[in-house]
Symmetry: C2
DNA sequence: TATTTTTTGAGAATCATTTTCATTTTTATC
DNA sequence: GATAAAAATGAAAATGATTCTCAAAAAATA
């Protein structure tokens, strides 16, 4: 992580700060989907002086660098996660908020066809499906 | 439109107001992707006393009723459109904002497979692809 | 180490959307 | 159609996520 951060910062003429090292590390170790506030809370545990503005600034920066991705999972704020080389999508339970990740060659195929058909140069695919997970499905249908 | 509105309002015990009739009609006639402000502007041309709060309230209501759909097309506010029986998705040019609509049996197939695999009851699929449209593609690559 | 450049923290500002509440409109009842 | 009860509206304030401002601190460069 630190090596990667250094590389990317150098590349774009940014400084490597303690805040950046900490934040990227926390996102990396979280594995899941973090929102800005949760990241801020965790960061403050180790750098009590860090500011929420710094969290937002650097989330934006990491995203520009391609290190993380931003998702809207149904709430009115964003969640962030380390961007892995293989793209994935999200299936969210609208009742309990559970998030399942998935990928599908069908989506990749759809992208390729669309690229040809519309002659766009497509660089981003965001797919979110919503529904009820097995548990919530039951609770809703005791009919 | 008015018949539909009446039906849905009755069904859920809501009143049929002039504001609702006007707003739904404007969305219907717009065909494209309207945001709350644009809808408010157009509504005011015919009911100068209408409030932005009423616009938001009723967009939310129409959405709950399943009459319209809400999309995030890349800006930090929502766009709305009449919900047609056949689902469609969006391809957005990140340079000029142009929006192309599409649907694909591949996506439907992916949904079915996922439904089985994860045992979710899926009722919503939102797919947004981003890229550069043919025109913007050229401008960016004069290499 | 000295100088220049970038980033940070704190708080104010922004902007889309929601809430509040008194007033008006709609609905249901007669 | 008039009347009372229920729901919706307008205006303004509140909210909440995110961005901006600017003086002070840290990092990069010389
Ligand atoms: Mn994910
Ligand atoms: Mn559309
Ligand atoms: Zn669930
Ligand atoms: Zn374009």
């Amino acid at each position: 992580m630190k090596m990667i951060l250094k590389k990317y910062c150098k590349m774009s003429g940014r400084s490597v700060t303690n805040q950046r090292k900490l934040l990227l590390d926390l996102i990396y170790r979280a594995k899941g989907h973090l929102d800005a506030d949760e990241l801020f809370r965790r960061a403050k545990e180790q750098q009590q002086r860090i500011s929420l503005a710094t969290v937002y600034r650097n989330l934006k920066l990491f995203k520009e660098m391609g290190l993380i991705s931003e998702n809207r999972l149904g709430e009115n704020h964003s969640h962030y996660e380390i961007r892995s080389p293989v793209e994935h999508h999200h299936l969210v339970c609208r009742s309990c908020g559970r998030v399942e990740e998935f990928d599908s060659p069908l989506i990749d195929e759809a992208r390729l066809r669309l690229q040809q058909q519309k002659e766009f140069d497509i660089f981003s695919v965001q797919l979110k499906m919503e529904g009820y997970c097995p548990k919530c499905k039951q609770k809703r249908k005791p009919s």
